[in-house]
Symmetry: C2
Subunit: 220 residues, 2 copies
């Protein structure tokens, strides 16, 4: 089974995915700026899961030991975190979950200078890292309810088709449906949908609005 | 009942909406660059509907007689069409359906210079026109099946909340669920989701992929 490093895995979104993947048999390493914080959170999650599934390391060490690196940090830590793991990611897939929100205006689309956070990641990491954008629209609240399926599809964007397929498998392992959403530049759609979902949460008084792609079973 | 002008109403998307609204009791005027083409299409649609519901006029005359103006043209005609109806739209709501596609790469997100086609429309029309972005993700194929509900939500973005509410009513009248999706700048999300849906159509061999927002009934 492949090993996964979740940089920013101490946060809510990353933690939910980490536990779901650990339960599915992946070797999961929680990464954080602080190795101590990563170890502490990994222990807490192991306690929740009732077994020593997860370990914790500083981000660069976590990325170094993983086959696939997952990035789950706030946008204001995006660039610095990527710079700190650039070497350790070479030749690997990096799955970028980042939504370029600009707090406190988190219900408004913010287009970053590079068009999409995932495109900025590709540019920072260089051509030998395969950046895949995914999971931006999934509610952390729902991810943490481990026994329950998440009523949200995951749009998976990457320039490399095999990398899309590999990440669609990871999505399924976490209990969701992943869909091939095309080239990495299409990450703009998923990244900009998140502030819309946060607006909908606020406007309609709900906690975890998500999306489903319809029409996939028509005429088949 | 309010009167609606559908500029570009001779196209597939506009025609489907026109007939749905006409059946719902709105006075609908088809607009086109050519008055003759607009009249011909209006007659054809009246034939389909079995009654003289629709009329056809040149775009500027259509906009002039309408309470609400709907813009349904390809992106390469967006700017010129808006310029041709600028005067006639003052003080009104303009609903922009435009997706900034760059053929032939219609399965790839293309961010226009102004960030979103709807933001460009607002800038072209000036502050006395209330631009509302909506309907970008709805399959024309499904809209034309008049008796059938469309399995797609409509994200409605505008800086003015009352205008959002007015357009959400128009969405319901056309047989769909409209959702308040926030400020006009959030139109980026809906506009960039369309090439993703077109990619999904191609990849999964379907014709009318759409979206549903989930989680709206949780905990209520």
């Amino acid at each position: 089974m492949k090993s996964l490093a979740i940089l920013g895995g101490t946060g809510k979104e990353g933690a939910g995915l980490a536990m779901r993947w650990a339960l599915h048999g992946y070797r999961v390493i929680i990464g954080s700026r602080s190795a101590e914080k990563a170890e502490t959170r990994a222990k807490e999650m192991n306690g929740e899961l009732g077994a020593d599934y997860l370990s914790g390391l500083a981000n660069a060490a976590a990325a170094d030991r993983a086959d696939i690196v997952i990035l789950s940090v706030p946008y204001n830590a995006h660039q610095a975190t990527l710079a700190s793991v650039r070497e350790q990611c070479q030749g690997k897939i990096l799955v970028d979950l980042t939504v370029p929100l600009q707090p406190p205006a988190i219900t408004q689309v913010n287009l970053p200078g590079g068009g999409a956070a995932a495109l900025e990641a590709q540019s920072l990491l260089g051509p030998d890292v395969t950046v895949v954008a995914a999971f931006q629209n999934v509610s952390a609240v729902k991810l943490k309810k481990l026994g329950q399926p998440v009523d949200c599809d995951v749009l998976v964007c990457a320039d490399d088709r095999e990398a899309r397929t590999a990440v669609i498998e990871l999505v399924a392992a976490a209990g969701m449906r992943g869909l091939d959403a095309g080239l990495l530049k299409n990450a703009v759609a998923a990244e900009s949908l998140t502030p819309v979902l946060l607006h909908i949460n606020k406007t309609y008084g709900v906690q975890g609005a998500g999306l489903r792609i319809t029409g996939l079973d028509d005429g088949r």
